[in-house]
Every structure is written in structure tokens, then in C-alpha cells.
Symmetry: C2
Subunit: 336 residues, 2 copies
């Protein structure tokens, strides 16, 4: 069903106020959850609201905590998130990285001991829309087998790149698993096979049967050994820079998904070494070359990361945000 953006946001906000967030916290978190659904990332938008409220009730997210500056050196800052609200901690840190990039050309903020940031792309979009290039990533609890292993042994550690562009930012938001668990459920409920193999069944055979992968927990790293290698490197790099937990120390049963994780925020002044005009000319030409690439199927269209998000956003703003009816009912109850 479709619900207007403002209605979704106000409802989520009431749910968050009921959970004990302040007016300002509830407003911003509701905006971000609604924006994620509006952008088509339902799994980390409205669908995550009940779980976030549950985490607050369990004390896994401390709504009173604020990021604490531990160290500042040159173009880099280090914060402890004190298990505060993941979205607000991450927004604060990306904004600090942008401020450092304004001064030094680039900025690094390393955040430890924070909580789920919901959709990673939020922060890449945020920097890009403020006119800065960004790279950010997170380490999560083990939810994916490393290549060569049959048990969850690394996080899916989303990695994001944001590039500002007047015609619409280019934003990559990429987890290290080929499919999210949420996506497997969507296919299973629809009685469909995955478009490509997404994991191994319990006997170790590569399969496109979503239910068999949910059962085995052997979700496939994107690009087999490649996504596995990148996931472990991102995990270590995050824990190293933030002097915080590595993935093996993040326990979802203790503090919830991503509870106590590390996040890294890098911001770059994109016009450090060239003018905005040169940058826009390059991006317009490069994007045009992407669109001009011969499509695989007649009538197909090749697009850049973020382009479909912008299209979905526009359609949802015009016609209402698509919401799952049962999730919407649950959030409405939380808002009462």
C-alpha cells in the first residue's frame, strides 16, 4: 500500500517518542527511516522501526548517549558512540568528516562502540548532498561464511561511496553478501528462485533456492572469494582505525545486530584539485557514456549507482511511499 511521506514520518516519529526519544531525535530518526523506504530500501526503512524500538526497550540502544570525542589529530577524529542511537551517531560523524575535509581537503572520523546505522547509503548520500565525496563502511556481527568455511564467520560489512553531482548524486551502497537475508525472504515468500545462486544448501551445493540458504545460513559472499576477502579486510580496517570491536567480538544476541560495532567515515573535498565545472563536465560525460553502453536486451538501460534510487524517490514522493501493510499496522500500533 501507499502512504504519503509526511504521514509515514509523523507516525514513525510518534512511535519513537513513545520509545523515549526526544522530539529532536524522534524527528531526525523518523525522517531517515522514512527516506530509506522512500528510496526503495524498505529493509532498513519502515521495516526496521519495530526492531529499533525493541532494541531501545531492551537497553541495547541508549537514547541518552552522545558521541564522545576521544582523540583529534590533524585531519582525523576518534569517537566513542557509547551505544547511542546508530543513525544520530553516524550522521554526527559524517558531518565531522565533512568539516575536517573542508579544512584539510580530506577528513577521517573513526567511531567505535556504536549501534546499527540502518542504511549505510544514508551517510554517503548525506555527504554527497552537502557537496562532498565520501567513503564509509561498518563492521557487523558474523552473518556470512568466509570463503572456504561453512559457518558464519564474517560480517556483510556494507561499503559505500558517494559522489556529488548536480544531476543526482552517484551513490554505491554495497553489502559484501550477494543477497541480504531480507531479500531471500522476499523471494521465498513469493515462491521464486533467486536470479543467481545466492548461497549453499546444507549439503554444500550452490543453490538459487532462498529457503535452502536461510536454513543453512550459508549465504554467498558477493563474487565468492572476493567479497569474502573484502569483508574481512573492511572488518579489520574498521576495528584498527576505531580501536574498537572486530566482527568476532560483536554479538547480536548480547547487544543486537551491529551492537558495539565500528564505523569509518571518510570525506573528500571533490574540488580539491579541479573546479566544480571540470568535475561536472567529467561526470556528465561519464554518465552519458554509461547510458550509451549497448544494452544486453533490447529496450534495456544501463544506469549508474544511485540513479534508480532517485527515480524511486521521485515516484514515491508523488504517489506515496510503498509500505508493507502488516509492518505499517505494527508501526501504527507503536505510535498509539
Amino acid at each position: 500500500m501507499r502512504v504519503p511521506f509526511e504521514t509515514v514520518k509523523e507516525t514513525v516519529k510518534k512511535a519513537f517518542l513513545n520509545a523515549g526519544l526526544t522530539e529532536e531525535q524522534a524527528e531526525e530518526c523518523a525522517r531517515i527511516h522514512t527516506q530509506s523506504s522512500c528510496d526503495g530500501v524498505y529493509s532498513h526503512g519502515l521495516n526496521r522501526v519495530p526492531r529499533f524500538v525493541d532494541y531501545v526497550h531492551k537497553g541495547w540502544v541508549d537514547v541518552k548517549a552522545k558521541p564522545e570525542l576521544l582523540h583529534a589529530r590533524g585531519a582525523a577524529e576518534h569517537y566513542d558512540g557509547h551505544l547511542g542511537i546508530g543513525i544520530l551517531n553516524a550522521e554526527f560523524c559524517m558531518d565531522r568528516a565533512v568539516a575536517l575535509a573542508k579544512e584539510h581537503g580530506i577528513g577521517l572520523v573513526a567511531l567505535r562502540n556504536t549501534t546499527h546505522w540502518m542504511r549505510g547509503g544514508t551517510y554517503a548520500w548525506r555527504a554527497a548532498e552537502a557537496g562532498y565525496m565520501a567513503i564509509c563502511w561498518i563492521n557487523t556481527e558474523s552473518c556470512m561464511p568466509l570463503w572456504g568455511s561453512k559457518e558464519p564467520s564474517v560480517g556483510n560489512n556494507p561499503f559505500c561511496i558517494g559522489i556529488p553531482h548536480e544531476g543526482g548524486s552517484i551513490v554505491l551502497d554495497m553489502a559484501m553478501s550477494q543477497y541480504a537475508y531480507g531479500k531471500l525472504g522476499v523471494y521465498r515468500l513469493a515462491g521464486k528462485k533467486l536470479p543467481f545462486p545466492g548461497g549453499f544448501d546444507k549439503d554444500g551445493n550452490l543453490t538459487d533456492d532462498p529457503g535452502a540458504i536461510e536454513e543453512s545460513m550459508r549465504i554467498l559472499p558477493t563474487g565468492y572469494w572476493k567479497g569474502s576477502g573484502m569483508a574481512i579486510a573492511l572488518d579489520m580496517a574498521a576495528a584498527l582505525l576505531a580501536n574498537g570491536r572486530s566482527g568476532d567480538q560483536i554479538n547480536a544476541d548480547e547487544l543486537g545486530s551491529c551492537g558495539g560495532c565500528c564505523q569509518i567515515f571518510l570525506a573528500f573535498d571533490p574540488y580539491l584539485f579541479g573546479s566544480k565545472e571540470e568535475a561536472e563536465e567529467m561526470l556528465n560525460r561519464r554518465i552519458a557514456a554509461v547510458h550509451a553502453a549497448a544494452p544486453e536486451r533490447e529496450g534495456g538501460r544501463v544506469s549508474c549507482p544511485g540513479e534508480r534510487t532517485v527515480a524511486t524517490r521521485g515516484e514515491h514522493l508523488a504517489n506515496g511511499v510503498e509500505v508493507d501493510e502488516s509492518v505499517w499496522e505494527e508501526v501504527c500500533r507503536l505510535a498509539q
Copy 2:
């Protein structure tokens, strides 16, 4: 066949001296090519020597050019490579990034108008062995179809992460294609299928037949749409920061593979916000957790990026570097 490291290096050095490199240039480039073969990356080690010599003869690589500082701002520097020797330009820039990281905590060097850096991992290893964390990437000519396209429309844009560790650095060196073209040839010549589908045949069917992919030029991005999206984001990010060519402007027929490309070097002081002791403790624990992950097959072993490289390096140093006989003969001729 096996040839001792020093013999390989001295032979490559003579070939490079014959091509017009100075003593110092030839020594360093020979060391890097030999090290790549020694580490098991044959495609960018000895096997690339004849092509590099050919590029010098064609004037595609200018052995007299040096990186020129165009701009310096805060923790960031911008260089023009003037189509100089790719390895030397890239080593210089990674060393500058490390020097900037020493001063500012992090350092960024953006290099434009350079040439093939051979093995991307070289520079991540270099920073890691100097005690710095590094991220680096390159944009290349279009050699891979974007997802949804049937023609080469983006580079395979290798992306590297290096993490210093006393027991052996963790180094990820990952191109955005599932398999390198070189690897397809190896499988085809051995009469083997690929372990997993590596591209599409000319009719658009996903296939594990290496010859069919060489024919169609429709090599598969790693993780399908994911590697495709990351490749285009890396391309734009490199061209943006270096104010240089985007992939669509890199023409291998004009200046050779990677001729005129951009490269980005990021270095991080890994002990910015924690002690080396804390870092080593975390890495040792995390690596042990990787090794303890239940293997898929009995007797299997799960490893971190770089671990197999270190093992291959040790074996080659003890028993001689593995070289392809026909390539070795060709390099010996170039050295005469």
C-alpha cells in the same frame, strides 16, 4: 620452471636497461616485477615485462618523465604522472601519502596521467610494510561490460587495502571482474572449465567456458551488479579527485592499457587512536578467529587476504620463482 629470485631480477633489469631505463629505474622496476612473480601474481610480474618494454619502444611510457606536483592542500597532494613509468610513479605517490599520514594522521595523493602500475597490491604491501594502512585504486580502460550491457563499458579498476601486521600484512588486491582475462587463457589452455561462471557467451548465456567469454568479451563483474556498480563508482571517484581521465577517455589502442589513467593513494596511521600493542592483539585474535572458522571441506583451511601470498613468497624464495618457460626465454632475449 624455477629460476632463483636474483637471476630473474638481474635478467629483467638488463632487459629494462636495454629499453633505456636508468640503472636506478631498471633496478627498482625489475625488483617489483620479480616480486610479483615471486608472490604468485605471474600475470603482472615476469609475464608483463615484454609488454612494458614494447610500451617504452612505442613511446607510450616516457622513461624520462617524473611526477609533477600540481597542488598541495592540507593532507592531500595532486600529481601529474606525465605518462612516466607506472611503477615508479605509483611508488612515489604511495610514499607521499604515507609521509602525509605521518603528519596529518591520514594522507591522500591523487595522480593523473600515469601508466600501468602493474600489480595494484604492490602499493598496499609497500605501505603496510612501512607500517601504514592503505587504500588505493585505479581507473582503467573499458574492459568489462557494465551490468545490463553487452559491450565493454567500464574498467576492472583494481581496489586494494593494506593492513600492517607483524605476522604478515593483510592485503586485499581485488579487480572488479570475477576473473582476469589472463586467468581465462590459463583455463582455456589447460582445457578446463572455470570453477564458477565467469561471463556470458555471445548469445548472452552465463557460462564457465573460458574460450566463449574471450570471444564475446563479456567478462562478468564480480558479484554481477555489485562489481559493476563499484567499478563505475571507483572510476568516477578517481577521475574526480585526480581531475584526470575517466575510464571512457582511456584508450588502450592509443596509449596502451591504463595509458593516461588516474590512481588514488590513501594512507592511514594505523595507531592514530590506539597503541600498536592493542592493534596487534586485535589482529592476532581476528586472524585466529578466521583460522578457527569451520572449513567447508574436511582438511580445508580458511585464510585472510595476503596469507597465501606470504606462503607462496616463502616457497619461491626457497625453491626459485616459478616462471613460464616461453616468457622466460623472451625476457632473456630482451636482456641480451
